[in-house]
Assembly symmetry: C2
DNA sequence: CTCTCCCTTGAACACGTGTGCAATATTGCA
DNA sequence: TGCAATATTGCACACGTGTTCAAGGGAGAG
């Protein structure tokens, strides 16, 4: 029953010009006389005219929508990423079509297909891994595919990776400096490539240094998982260091260690995280962690939107050690 | 240079049928023989056909996009809300066009106009306040407008409100029960209606009870603001209770009180928040707070999408007191 | 005044889809 | 088999826009 929107025909009629003139008035760089332009703008204003982006998109067979696929958007890391990305897109004059995968394990293929249907120019995958068939289809249809923190085994897609290896190495070095003898690695059971890389790099550095490590892997990537890890791991009183592959788990681990297992951090136990989410700097935690710059990450994504199709640019987001108060000096 | 997407003409040609048959195959409840349907589906599969939603939308002059306007998406409360909303929309077969207002104070009118251009069926305003002219335009063009936690002075828009009055009253009662003599109210300088309502309701209950109150108002709605509030307020050693109108500020306040101002919570000082964000239940805080159910809120928004246009349904999201460990028993 | 050149304008087409309408094929029944 | 009723199909149109093309008009130079 919706009343129809005002169209360019209505505006043209009111302004006493042709529909082409209206279209040209709203098209950058088209040729319109100042007089006509003025009349059109006034008529449009009075009628409340809004360009129909659907028709516009149909015409040049592509919308300027950017599809964003994510999951667990309420986790601080994801939320921050989405926040900055959506702001950046808007500033560039592109719109953000958000598809939330509800479950990190669920197949994101249907969501990407949905984005195809809207003729989006680009797809940003914040979490989950697109199947190869979809990657091919993107390429075939001229859709830019940008994958974050997920290593795809091909050379025609933009990939943006936090420098997990360097970060995990930094963490390992720091715990060695702190003099840790037996170190726990806490990771989730979801086995995302990012977490696997961090875990593996850390382990290999530690092993090479002859430090004893114990890997704990279970549950989803949440605060509660970190808490549980602390409760189970810290029965072993020899453990004097921990690397949690994600800040959110590190915070849970910290709380478990201090409040449930009676450890003093950093005196008895050194804890280090990864990501530098906002909560990591809160006074109750002051978590020493590996930061990856959200600004750099976002900029990399936005820059990737302009890259030529089919070429592969792998951007490494640099990491830095943020020294706070959970590792012994 | 984008290769064109496959169209229904291509599919029709391959399947050896008319284009209408293709359209009907993908239209619920249209009349197609099983034989034709099979051929069409196979051809579509082989060619990788995807309906063009832009054309579809142009045809029935409306997309099934739902515009979502928000700001500060990385704050836990917002993030959680957006997370659940986007999942709910997807489940209903609607898509989420996300416009991030970057700044809570910025004018959201241009964003809403953008949504108009996409011929969205509905607009959900998570934060910020739409100007009246926009509200009128929504009504005129058959766009459902749903405003959250913002009281509009009109009777033709759906409004969803957390029951701030009841919540603030609960908080006040609880602090009275705890025996507080002098109570601080911590709120931000952004003066959102929600915060103003909570602040005012709390104050009036306390004043009526003869309890001394001191209102602190400054800065944005952040953790740091809460921290600052604690540092400034708690120089006054008579203050033995605090109501922070938002959990995120309450957590900052708690940290400031304990770590910087040396207060014991809940022994010396009772603190109560509002929203029940995930972090409130973390072991380091265990914040007593007023919870508004995110589930109920989300359901209310989704339900509002189906309401008839122009009628006003004001939904109050009920609140409950979550008793944890920051108020004396 | 005439010719040329450039700026402006309107008509017509294409984009890809859903659907009303009329024509045709199929089924059910006697 | 014959007839009516029903199911299926194809044609053509509408949705609102950007753009090409040819035509019109005005200005400047000779």
């Amino acid at each position: 029953m919706a009343k129809a929107f005002v169209t360019s025909v209505d505006v043209a009629q009111r302004a006493g010009v042709s529909r082409s003139a209206v279209s040209r008035t709203f098209t950058e760089g088209a040729s319109v006389s100042p007089d006509v332009r003025r009349k059109v703008l006034q008529a449009a204003q009075e009628l409340g005219y809004r360009v129909n982006r659907l028709a516009q998109g149909l015409n040049n067979s592509s919308s300027n929508l950017v599809g964003v696929v994510g999951a667990n958007l309420s986790l601080p890391f994801m939320a921050k990423q989405l926040d900055m990305l959506s702001i950046g897109l808007l500033r560039r004059g592109q719109q953000c079509l958000l598809l939330n995968a509800a479950d990190a394990r669920s197949d994101i293929a249907p969501l990407i297909e949905l984005i195809f249907e809207f003729r989006a120019r680009a797809i940003v995958v914040l979490s989950g891994e697109p199947p190869m068939s979809i990657v091919d289809e993107c390429l075939a249809n001229g859709v830019k595919l940008i994958v974050i923190n997920r290593q795809l085994a091909r050379s025609d897609t933009d990939i943006i990776l936090s420098d997990d290896i360097a970060g995990a190495t930094l963490a390992a070095e720091r715990l060695k400096t702190a003099g840790c003898q037996k170190v726990a690695v806490v990771t989730s059971g979801s086995e995302t490539p990012t977490q696997l890389r961090r875990c593996e790099a850390f382990s290999s550095v530690m092993t090479a240094a002859g430090t004893e490590i114990v890997v704990w892997r279970d549950g989803p990537t949440t605060y509660e998982t970190g808490l549980k890890a602390a409760r189970e791991l810290l029965c072993d009183r020899q453990i004097d260091g921990a690397f949690c592959v994600t800040d959110i788990m590190a915070l849970g681990f910290l709380d478990g260690a201090r409040n449930d297992m009676g450890r003093l951090v950093p005196e008895d136990l050194s804890v280090i995280g990864f990501d530098d989410i906002p909560q990591a700097s809160w006074r109750s935690y002051e978590l020493t962690t590996i930061a990856q710059s959200f600004e750099v990450l976002t900029e990399a994504v936005l820059a990737a939107l302009d890259h030529e199709l089919g070429q592969s640019v792998i951007t490494n987001v640099p990491v830095t050690l943020i020294e706070r108060n959970t590792v012994r000096r």
